[in-house]
Amino acid sequence: MMKKNTDVLIIGAGLSGLMAAAKAADSGKKVLLVAKGMGALGLSSGCIDLWGYSLDHPEEICQDPVQEIIKMVAAQKDHPYAKVWDVLEESLSFFQQICSQNGLAYEVAEKGNWLLPTALGTVRPTYLAPAGMAARELPRAKNILVMGFQGLKDFYPEVLTTNLKNNMNLPADCQLTTLMLDLGKIELSPNNLAYLLEKDEVLQRLVSQIKPHLAEEMVILMPPVLGERGHTKVLLNLVESLGVQVYEVTNIPPSLPGQRLQQALLHHLKKQSVEIILGCTVIGTTVLGEHCTEVLAEGSGKNLTIAAKSIILATGSFLGGGMEAQPGKVIETVFHLPIKVLDEKWSAKEFLSLEGHPFSKFGIEVNNHLQPVNSQGEVVIKNIRVIGANLAGANYPIEKCGNGVALATGYKAGKLVGEV
C-alpha cells in the first residue's frame, strides 16, 4: 500500500480547506490536500459574505459586518465566528492578497456591505465582491441594460428587470431595458460561453450588438460568463470597448465566479508546492489516545495511508459530504466526531422560512483552537482542527455568512498548525 507523510493534511477542497492550505504553506509547512472532489466553492457566488443583516433591525442591511460580528459573538458564544473573530480582519486581507496575486481582485463597498443584484432580480448583501461583480454605480444608474444570451437556459433578462424594480432602491427615473445577444448557438453552457468570450472576435461581435443600445449613464448587468481564467482581461476589454460599466450578477450553478475563485486558489497552492489529490476519499482513521496518527484514503480503487502531524477537517456539511443524515441521527463521516443536532425538527415547514432550517446549524463544536470538543467541552482529538461548514452554530443561508466563516476558520486553522 502507498504511504505518504506530511506535516499538514487537509481533507476537503472547499474555501475553508483551500484557505487553510494556503496559510499553512505560507508558514513553511509541507501540506497535502486530499478531497473527494471539487469542493462546493465552485457552486458558490464567488463573493465573500460576512454578515448580511443588522442584528437590531433584521430587515435592514448590516452596514459594518466586522463590527456586527464582534457584537454578535458576545451573545452567541456557540457561533463559529466566536472562535475566529480575533483573526477575521487579517484573514480577509490575507485572502485579498493571495487572490490579487493570482489575478482576481476583490473589492470592499463604501458602506461595508455591497447590495448586489442576482439573476432573479433579488438583491444580496455581501462583503467582498470580485471587481467584475462590484456594481458600484448601480444605485445611481439612470439606465440599466440587462443582457442575456440566446441559448443560455439559466438566465432571463426580463426576470431580472421585473423583480429588480421591486427589490432594489433605484432612482425613480431609472430606465431598465433588456437585450438578448445572439452568437448563433442553440444551446450554450455557462462554461462554453465563458470560453468563447475569451476570444477577441467573439467579444467584438457582442460589442457591435450592444452598441446601438447604449445610453447615458448606463450600467450593464449580465450573467456571470465573462471569461474563465482570462476573466479580468475580458471584462476590461468589454468595458473599454463599450465605454460603460459592465457587471456580472449572481446566478445558480454552474456559475463562473465561484469556479474562478476556486481555480485561483488552487493555482496559488500549486505554486506553493502544496500537493493536491482529488477523487480521494478518507475511509479510515487511526487514533491513538488523543491523536490521529494516520488516515486511510481511497482513490480510484487504490488505498493510501497518510501520516500527518496535524489534520484539518474541511469536509463541509451535508452538501460537501462531511456529515451524513440518517433517520434520527447525524454522523460526521471521517472521524465520527460528535455532532451537535440543535433541534428535534430538522427543517422548517416553509422552504423559504425567514428563520431558516435547523439543519443548517448542525455541526461539530470546537474550542478557540478549532479542536473538536464533546458536549462536556473536552477536546476529542488534539491534532485535528475543524473548519468551514462542518462547524456547528451558524445559520449560513439566512445570516449570509458561509464564505466568511469558511475563510476565517480556514485561515486560523492554517495559522495554528503553522505554529505546531
Binding site: S44, V123, K153, E158, I186, I252, W346, S347, P397, G402
Partner: protein, 533 residues
C-alpha cells in the same frame, strides 16, 4: 354571475369524474366537469400508480379481482401511452405462509388472472436487489399506470365530443326545487368569480370529498377517509411491479414508474379529505417492511414521500382500513333519499375507474331517457404514435426524451415535435432529471388549462426527478415569463418549491439531505429569495 347549461354536472376531476365525463360525451349527453383544483387534485395523483391485475384481491374478493383483470386488459388497449406494461411479480418470503400461496394460485385461476411461476435462480439473476429469502415467485399481468395522463386523456377525448371541464372551480352550492336538482353554483378559485350551471343531473364523483358534496344537498354519504403514505425512490429498483405474496398489508408493493419506483402504502383513517401530509414515521415503517423484499432498500435514495386519501365506502358503520371493501357503490339518491337528480359514485379503485364511470352513466342515461350504450371500452383514449413520428422525435429530443414526451403528450406529441423542428432552440432539455424539453413545457403552458407551475409539472413530470425542481423551476419561470399567469414571479416559484418541500421533508436523509442543502444554498444563499419582494 354567468350561467352555463348542461344536462349533467360532474363533481370531481379524478379518474372516476373524468371517466364519467368521457362516457357522457361519447353517448351524446352534454356534461360539465367541475374540479376544485387541477385534475387529479385528490386521490388520482396520490396512489402507487399500479394498474392491478387483480391478483392482490384474488383471495379476499374475487369479484373485485375479476373486475381488475378485465379493466386492466381494456386500459392497455385503449390507453397505451398511459400504461407501462411492466408485468408484475408476487414473491413469497421464507416467513410467509405457504398455504396462502396455494390458495392464491387457485383464486387467481378462478378470477381469470394468469399466473406463472418464476424459477428462483432466474429471478435472482434478473433482479439481484430482491431478497435472497424469496422462496417462490409468480408473474402476473400487473402494469404501471400514469394517473395524470389517464385523466387528461379522458378529458381530451371528452372534449372532442363536447364535454367541458372547469378546473380550479369549487362547488359552493347545489340548487334544488321541489325535490329535484336544478343546478349548481361554483366559484373560480383563481379569480373569485361565481358561476351558475343549470342541469338536470349532478353526479357526485368527488372521491374523498363525496360526503361534503352530499352534505351540500342535505344528504349523508359515509366515506371513510383512509390515508396512505407512499415513497418515491430515485431510480427503477426493478423493471416489474413487485408484490408480497401474503394477505395485503402496508409497504408491500413496489411499482417501477418511468424513472422512479414507488413503494406503498400505509393505511390510517383520517378526518379530513385534504389530509395528504406524509408522515416521517410512516416512511420509516414503509422502509422497514419494504426491506424484507429489497434488503438494500435503506441505501437507495428516496426523493420524496406523498400521501393520498382513499375514499372507502361503507354503507353502515363498521370495518375500517384494509378490512373495508375496495368495491365501489353507486348511490341513487332518488331511490335512497327521495332527491331527484343526484347520483353519488363512491369507493372503488383507480384500476376500475372506467367500469365505475360506465355503470354511473348507465344510470344517468336511464334517468335522462338516453339509450346509447357506453363506448369507452372500445374507443381508444389516445391513438398510438407511429414509428416514423417517434424516429423523427428521437432526432430532436434523443431516445429517452422522445419516448417519454410521446408517452406524456399522446396525440399532442406531433404538434410539439413540429414546433421543436421549426424552432430548434426549443429542443433544450429544461428538466434534466426527467428529460422534459422547453418545447413540451411551452406547449403545455399554452394549453389553456395550466395556471401554475404545478399544473405543468403534472402534465410533463417537470421537477419530479432527482433534484425535485431545484434547477428547472427557475429556468421555466424565465422561459415563460412573458405569459400573463406567470407575472408574479415570487408566487410562481414559491408555491412550486413549497409543494416540493412538503414531499422532501419526510425523507430528508442521505443524498436527499444534500439535495435539500443545495436547494437552500441556491434559493437563500445565492438568491436571497426568502426576502424577495
Amino acid at each position: 354571475m354567468t350561467t352555463d347549461r348542461a344536462q349533467v354536472v360532474v363533481i370531481g376531476g379524478g379518474a372516476t369524474g373524468t371517466g364519467i365525463l368521457r362516457d357522457l360525451a361519447l353517448r351524446g349527453i352534454s356534461g360539465i366537469l367541475v374540479e376544485q383544483g387541477d385534475l387529479a387534485h385528490g386521490t388520482s395523483s396520490r396512489f402507487h400508480g399500479l394498474l392491478h391485475s387483480g391478483a392482490r384481491y384474488a383471495v379476499k374478493d374475487k369479484e373485485a379481482a375479476r373486475e381488475c383483470i378485465e379493466e386492466n386488459m381494456i386500459l392497455r388497449k385503449i390507453a397505451p401511452n398511459c400504461v407501462e406494461e411492466t408485468g408484475g411479480l408476487f414473491v413469497q418470503l421464507k416467513e410467509d405462509d405457504p398455504s396462502y400461496t396455494d390458495k392464491w394460485i387457485s383464486s387467481c385461476a378462478q378470477a381469470g388472472i394468469p399466473t406463472e411461476e418464476v424459477e428462483i435462480g432466474e429471478l435472482r439473476r434478473t433482479y439481484p436487489v430482491l431478497s435472497p429469502d424469496i422462496v417462490r415467485a409468480f408473474r402476473v399481468p400487473d402494469c404501471a399506470v400514469d394517473g395524470f395522463r389517464v385523466l387528461w386523456s379522458n378529458v381530451n377525448s371528452a372534449r372532442q365530443y363536447g364535454g367541458q371541464v372547469l378546473t380550479y372551480h369549487k362547488l359552493i352550492g347545489i340548487k334544488q326545487s321541489n325535490g329535484k336538482i336544478c343546478g349548481v353554483e361554483v366559484a373560480n378559485q383563481l379569480t373569485g368569480e361565481h358561476k351558475y350551471i343549470e342541469c338536470q343531473l349532478v353526479i357526485n364523483a368527488a372521491g374523498a370529498w363525496a360526503g361534503e358534496v352530499a352534505a351540500m344537498a342535505g344528504l349523508e354519504v359515509n366515506v371513510i377517509k383512509d390515508k396512505g403514505t407512499l415513497v418515491a425512490y430515485n431510480h427503477r429498483l426493478t423493471n416489474q411491479v413487485v408484490n408480497r405474496l401474503r394477505p395485503p398489508g402496508d409497504g408491500d408493493i413496489f411499482v417501477p414508474h418511468g424513472t422512479i419506483t414507488i413503494l406503498g402504502t400505509t393505511s390510517i383513517t383520517v378526518d379530513e379529505p385534504s389530509c395528504s401530509k406524509p408522515g416521517q414515521q410512516e416512511v420509516l415503517d414503509l422502509i422497514k417492511i419494504g426491506s424484507e423484499m429489497i434488503p438494500e432498500l435503506q441505501n437507495f435514495r428516496m426523493i420524496r414521500a406523498f400521501a393520498g386519501v382513499r375514499p372507502l365506502y361503507q354503507a353502515g358503520n363498521g370495518a375500517v382500513g384494509r378490512a373495508v371493501t375496495r368495491n365501489f357503490a353507486l348511490l341513487d339518491h332518488q331511490q335512497q333519499d327521495g332527491l331527484n337528480g343526484l347520483v353519488s359514485i363512491v369507493g372503488g379503485k383507480f384500476t376500475t375507474f372506467r367500469l365505475m364511470a360506465e355503470k354511473t352513466v348507465d344510470m344517468a342515461a336511464q334517468k335522462l331517457g338516453v339509450d346509447a350504450p357506453s363506448r369507452t371500452a372500445e374507443e381508444p383514449l389516445t391513438n398510438p404514435i407511429s414509428k416514423e413520428i417517434l424516429e423523427r422525435g428521437k432526432k430532436v429530443f434523443g431516445v429517452a426524451g422522445a419516448k417519454k414526451a410521446a408517452d406524456r403528450l399522446g396525440d399532442n406529441f406531433v404538434k410539439v415535435l413540429e414546433e421543436a423542428e421549426k424552432e430548434p432552440h426549443k429542443c433544450k432539455v429544461f428538466c434534466e432529471c426527467e428529460a422534459v424539453s422547453l418545447a413540451e413545457i411551452d406547449f403545455v403552458a399554452r394549453d389553456g388549462d395550466s395556471f401554475t407551475l404545478g399544473d405543468i409539472r403534472r402534465k410533463t413530470r417537470l421537477g419530479m426527478g432527482t433534484c425535485q425542481g431545484t434547477f428547472c423551476s427557475y429556468r421555466t419561470l424565465g422561459a415563460l415569463s412573458s405569459y400573463d399567469w406567470t407575472r408574479n414571479h415570487k408566487e410562481f416559484l414559491t408555491k412550486f418549491l413549497q409543494k416540493r418541500w412538503k414531499g422532501i421533508r419526510p425523507v430528508m436523509w442521505g443524498q436527499q439531505m444534500r439535495e435539500a442543502q443545495l436547494s437552500t444554498a441556491i434559493y437563500c444563499t445565492l438568491f436571497g429569495m426568502e426576502r424577495m419582494k
